[in-house]
């Protein structure tokens, strides 16, 4: 049986998060006024996003992705490469390249399991030479986002259950697999692998990692 390294993305391998990606899209609306309004609305909402994320990742998703309602799919895809070049690539933690490289040398399959959007993750995954990735996907109707996510919504326990199914399908032994995340919301994801590691952890995950004697890594 093989093994894989499963990575969360935002905060784990890159400094940015979902809000940065959305802010980029908000900043690049058609028309200056629209851009300013959308950017201001995003900024005002940041405390609410933080509070929601602290409370529950699902609540955060519900509140956050609705902001994409009305965005054109073409436009989002068009901006994806620019988003990667200007926002995401400079935000990759210096240690991320090396971690993935060492992991690949062990013969592990490299898999991203992230709540970020497929549109934004593609170029980044290619850049990091990731073998597989699973992301959240916006629902589009007639080429425009509805503000909802297509199931399964990648967050918390869903990530872990996706990993279990993936491991079974790909004949991977989860006990030999590695998991990397920065957030307490990914506790299920870290719990299903044999080698969990807290990366740049928030205080709650740090405490949990200490209790479970998991390695704590700082890639920043």
């Amino acid at each position: 049986m093989g093994a894989a390294a499963f990575y969360d993305l935002d905060g784990t391998l890159v400094r940015t998060n979902l809000v940065h990606a959305f802010a980029f899209s908000a900043r690049n609306q058609q028309g200056l006024l629209k851009s300013m309004v959308k950017t201001a609305a995003t900024l005002i909402s940041v405390p609410m996003f933080l509070a929601a994320d602290f409370y529950n990742r699902r609540l955060f998703n519900d509140l956050f992705f609705v902001r994409y309602r009305g965005e054109s799919e073409d436009r989002l895809r068009c901006l994806a490469q620019e988003l990667f070049d200007t926002v995401l690539r400079p935000s990759i933690f210096p240690g991320a390249y090396e971690l993935i490289d060492k992991s690949r040398q062990l013969g592990l399959r490299q898999v991203l399991v992230t709540g970020a959007l497929d549109i934004t993750v593609g170029p980044l995954a290619k850049h990091l030479k990731i073998d597989d990735y699973v992301t959240n996907r916006l629902e589009f109707v007639d080429g425009y986002a509805t503000g909802r996510l297509l199931p399964p919504v990648m967050a918390a326990a869903t990530k872990a259950s996706w990993m279990r199914i993936y491991a079974e399908k790909e004949n991977l032994n989860l006990s030999d697999c590695y998991g990397y995340s920065d957030s307490m919301s990914d506790l299920p994801m870290l719990s299903v692998v044999g080698h969990p590691t807290a990366v740049n952890p928030d205080i709650r995950l740090r405490n949990t990692a200490l209790q479970h004697d998991w390695p704590i890594l700082d890639l920043r």
């Binding site: 971690l99 060492k102 062990l106 080698h195 590691t197 004697d213 704590i216 700082d218």
Partner: protein, 541 residues
């Protein structure tokens, strides 16, 4: 401590009296002080127990600076250092890491004194391209504060971080393959050192295992280069690894060192320190308890009472913040082998106590510190390495303990690990040891998995963690002890599971441990206690 009349020697000196540092317990003897981690015990030992005390500190050199300059100008089998220097050349100064000496010495650290002199000399000879590399091998990287303490603020501020840094054994671009020995042992060394015109190694020899070719060939190498000798068979074949002439570990390292010398120009500076760990208020800790004054007794009781009221973390912090009062007793420079030979003599002069006859039971107090937990926790694996590794190997000739004898360690054996320094130790202890304690099996089944674990590699490189393979080395380090000793009992272990995982027995107290030992080796055992720290080594007849 109870009042005692001044000791009067009655009757003949015990028949086995070998050395002034050996004391036999009789009915009139004072109880002995033993370290038990961060605590001090006061125990009555059975009559007839032989206690080995460290020798008094050898007088330090009156003018270390002058002695260092003399050594640089009168090296052994090498040109004087100034004659080897030329403007524009590339020089790297490599220094021993924080594992030496123990505890860290008062500032200025002897490394600072030497490097200050070296930098003056290099500057005077027009050598500008100078780097300082800490030869930490797979040990943890030192923090900036620790690095600053080691060389002083002036050097630190001038060189850190670009020209004063830790060796990185996992830097893919930072290691050069020099070749293989005739026994197929690979030698991969720090690139900056290999590509330097001259490497000046600044060593501190705390125990005879240190120094010599180990400095460069081990201190500046990578995991692959360590594997041939940091393994169970080599340790089993070392009798002991503190005795270089009878150490397979040393033999293999010397082979690698010879290869290093063929490719690199190494100018070795070795120093020997005395054993003056305690001075002033704590000087009583290295005294024979029979010779305690009333003031010594008061100090001890005050210290013990204070420690009993403090939380463990605070006690640990307190002990780690007391620097040792070491003084340099010798310094030599030049070619590695002759320099090392001279320094070894000074080491043994300080540590060796002449002993006749092995013991059935050996009592070893385990203090709060080992080479691998400076500013950190002496975790269960390190308790093991202190007992089966260091204490067992503190001999020349034959082990102090008879084959199959009982070793008694005094330590709480707390289940505590430092997550920043020893992350791989935690997994090793909790996941592997419950499955097997067989060093060969551990090496073949799990060592590479740990050594190549990306998380542990990154924690070693970017944090202050020991390398993923290091807990295995710690286990191998106890391998010849494990093969020789019949039973290990931890007196005062506060839990049952830690000794059990280590393969040890536990006892509530030293007297209970001795009673247990008697049931293993007979009712009238020869009992010996090593009264350390400071270090004492048995020079066995």
């Amino acid at each position: 401590m109870r009042e005692r009349a001044p000791k009067v020697l009655r009757g003949p000196v015990p028949r086995n009296k070998e050395d002034d540092q050996v004391v036999y317990i009789d009915g009139d003897s004072a109880p002995r002080i033993l370290f038990s981690g961060e605590d001090l015990l006061l125990e009555d030992l059975p009559i007839g127990t032989r206690v080995l005390y460290p020798k008094p500190p050898i007088e330090g050199l009156a003018n270390p600076g002058a002695a260092i300059r003399y050594a640089l100008n009168h090296p052994l089998e090498a040109e004087p250092l100034y004659a080897q220097l030329a403007p524009g050349m590339r020089v790297t100064i490599a220094v021993d890491d924080i594992s030496l000496p123990l505890p860290p010495m008062t500032t200025p650290d002897i490394r600072q004194t030497i490097i200050e002199i070296l930098l003056e000399l290099l500057d005077a000879n027009g050598v500008d391209d100078v780097h300082i590399v800490i030869a930490n091998s797979l040990h943890r990287h030192l923090s900036a504060a620790e690095m600053k303490r080691m060389v002083g603020a002036k050097i630190h501020d001038a060189f850190y971080p670009d020209r004063y840094y830790n060796h990185d054994a996992e830097d893919p671009d930072g290691i050069v393959h020099l070749g293989k020995t005739d026994h197929q042992e690979p030698v991969n060394i720090n690139r900056r050192c290999v590509e330097s015109d001259l490497v000046i190694y600044v060593n501190i020899n705390l125990v005879p295992m240190d120094g010599g070719h180990k400095s460069v060939a081990v201190g500046l190498c990578d995991y692959e280069s360590l594997r041939p000798h940091h393994e169970p068979e080599t340790i089993r074949a070392s009798d002991s690894y503190m005795d270089p002439k009878r150490s397979m570990l040393n033999t293999k390292v010397e082979r690698q060192g010879a290869l290093v010398d063929r490719h690199m120009n190494v100018f070795h500076i070795e120093t020997a320190l005395n054993n003056r760990i305690y001075a002033g208020a704590t000087a009583f800790l290295s005294k024979n308890e029979d010779e305690f004054t009333e003031v010594d007794r008061l100090k001890f009781e005050a210290m013990r009472w204070t420690l009993s009221k403090m939380p463990r973390a605070a006690k640990r912090k307190l002990f780690h913040s007391i620097p040792a009062q070491y003084q340099m007793v010798a310094v030599y420079a030049g070619k590695t082998e002759p320099v090392h030979e001279r320094i070894l003599k000074h080491c043994w002069d300080q540590y060796a106590v002449h002993i006749r006859g092995q013991a059935d039971v050996l009592i070893c107090p385990v203090p709060f510190i080992s080479p691998y937990n400076v500013n950190s926790i002496l975790n269960p694996l390190l308790v093991q390495v202190m007992g089966l590794g260091y204490f067992h190997n503190f001999y020349r000739g034959k082990p102090l303990l008879k084959k199959g004898g009982v070793m008694i360690l005094t330590h709480p054996c707390y289940d505590e690990f430092d997550h920043n320094h020893h992350p791989s130790y935690i997994e090793f202890f909790n996941r592997l040891l419950p499955e097997t304690r067989d060093a060969m099996k551990l090496r073949h089944k799990y060592e590479e998995e740990f050594a190549k674990n990306p998380s542990y590699i990154e924690m070693y490189r970017r944090g202050n963690a020991y390398h993923g393979a290091h807990p295995f080395f710690m286990w191998y380090w106890g391998e010849n002890g494990r093969q020789h000793i019949g039973k290990v009992i931890v007196a005062g272990a506060e839990n049952a599971h830690v000794p059990k995982i280590l393969g040890f027995d536990r006892a509530d107290s030293l007297s209970e441990a001795i009673a247990m030992a008697k049931s293993a080796v007979g009712p009238s055992p020869d009992i010996t206690m090593m009264h350390h720290p400071p270090i004492v080594m048995a020079d066995m007849e």
